[in-house]
């Protein structure tokens, strides 16, 4: 299958053009954030405080990388499981977040939010952290440094390989593909 190339930040046109099942190579800026960073960002929104970065059009990658070895940009950096961020996602979609990279299911609230505000959920290959690190060209901590592996990092990536699992119409590849292969 032909892979689609996209750049971040993502426009609404890009979001609309992506469909569940598309294999995509992402280039541009991607911000990292997982459990603890999401809790802080949602708290910031509740208190009317600024987020550590403007999420409009951006993509958040659910990852806590290993420390970089000397001479490396980043350590191993595969996706973490996304459902833990489900209750902390819609307020970010409301602010214009257009993409999330993780692995595993999302709940209906997130899917409804993606349809309403226009966003894509991508999956990267879980457990392929050494391979994925090759597409990360720079990494810089931009917030919550004290959280260690959970700090928010700004990554510059080239041809970061992902698959569209849930598109902005709510089509879910996990459901459609599993059905095809289930014999039980």
């Amino acid at each position: 299958m032909q892979k689609k190339r996209i750049n971040t930040p993502m426009t609404q046109e890009t979001v609309k053009a992506l469909k569940a099942g598309d294999q995509v190579l992402i280039s541009g800026t991607v911000y990292t954030g997982r459990d603890a960073a999401h809790l802080r960002m949602i708290k910031a929104l509740e208190n009317d405080e600024a987020l550590p970065f403007d999420v409009e059009g951006q993509v958040i990658y659910y990852v806590g990388p290993t420390p970089a070895k000397p001479g490396e940009v980043i350590g191993s950096c595969g996706p973490t499981t996304s459902y833990r961020m489900d209750d902390l996602t819609v307020p970010l979609l409301k602010k214009g977040l257009r993409g999330m990279i993780g692995k595993g299911e999302r709940n209906q609230t997130v899917i409804d939010g993606m349809k309403k505000f226009g966003a894509i959920y991508f999956a990267a290959i879980g457990g392929a952290g050494a391979l994925i690190a090759n597409s990360v060209k720079s990494s810089e901590i931009v917030a919550y440094e004290e959280l260690g592996p959970e700090a928010v990092r700004k990554l510059e990536v080239i041809d970061f390989p992902v698959i569209v699992v849930i598109d902005s119409e709510g089509k879910n590849l996990y459901e459609t593909e599993r059905e095809q292969y289930a014999t039980k």
């Binding site: 290993t66 996990y174 599993r178």
Partner: protein, 280 residues
């Protein structure tokens, strides 16, 4: 009486933490190759190829296979004719973890309190189980347990009348509900019998066996085979994107239990199943 200095234990723990995180087990690698022959999903096949490539890169560059370098679980079998000297053995094990995770550039994933959640920044403490066994050797087994799969694990107290069908149904339900979350293809450890915590411990110990290992008990060997076949009919596939390769293997451990009970625990491991052992 044989004397072993705990600094030797510390060094072994440290090296196993680094080694197991960088180098995929030969059993898992063989299972990937075997799955490639049977997998029919194009996307599933391409994921298996990527996982082999990931393992090659990790081994070559000596970097972690997965960024979740795990919480360290140690099973220490200490011979009753061994005299441990040179300090507190539990502290030595934690020091081995500390040095391994620092020097190996591994991720520190442990929080000091489950509710306050402040990172200990050295991946300690490890979870350590001591057992006293005959002899004058010390056997150390480590499992570096990632939590994407740990979170999908379950325990249930079945009724004796539920029998083997009940066990099968619970394992299948657990794997089915886990879906794409634990990074399939997975390895499934099942503990049956004992008490609630014994069943969970058996499930963890089942994961320490080689993925292609078979139980020596004929009825349990048959159960392992049936479960693997049934799991791979669920259609979940590599990364949950459809296919025949949902699990690489199922290992079942059993223990005597009470006349009133049939405890079952299912401990799921991701394909980055990292464990090692050493005999001192």
């Amino acid at each position: 009486m044989r004397t072993i200095d705990v600094s030797v234990i510390k060094e072994s723990i440290k090296h196993m933490c680094i080694d197991a995180n960088y180098n995929i087990g030969a059993d898992i690698q063989a299972a990937f190759h075997k799955s490639l022959e049977t997998e029919t999903s194009p996307i599933g096949k391409s994921i298996l190829v990527d996982l082999l490539e990931n393992a090659r890169i990790a081994g070559e560059k000596q970097v972690p296979i997965c960024q979740d370098t795990g919480m360290v679980v140690v099973f220490a079998e200490v011979g009753q004719d061994v005299h441990l000297v040179g300090g507190d053995v539990k502290m030595a094990i934690d020091q081995g973890i500390r040095e391994g995770y620092e020097e190996g550039y591994l991720r520190k994933s442990v929080v000091a309190d489950p509710l306050n959640r402040v990172n200990t920044k050295d991946n300690t403490p490890g979870i350590v189980y001591f057992d006293i066994v005959p002899g004058d050797q010390v056997k150390l087994k480590v499992a570096l347990k990632g939590f994407g799969s740990e979170n999908m694990s379950k325990t249930k107290m079945l009724k004796p009348s539920d029998g083997i069908k009940g066990v099968e149904a619970f394992v299948l339900e657990t794997v089915s509900l886990a879906g794409p979350n634990p990074c399939p293809p997975i390895v499934v450890g099942v503990g049956v019998g004992g008490t609630i915590e014994k069943a969970a411990l058996l499930a963890k110990q089942a994961l320490l066996r080689s993925v292609d290992d078979e139980s020596t008990l004929p009825h349990i060997k048959a159960l392992e085979k049936t479960l693997l076949e049934q799991i791979n009919q669920l259609g979940i596939g590599p990364q949950g994107l459809g296919g025949k390769t949902t699990a690489l293997g199922v290992n079942v451990e059993v223990f005597p239990t009470h006349i009133a009970g049939l405890p079952v625990a299912v401990n799921i491991n991701c394909h980055a199943s990292r464990h090692m052992e050493v005999i001192l």
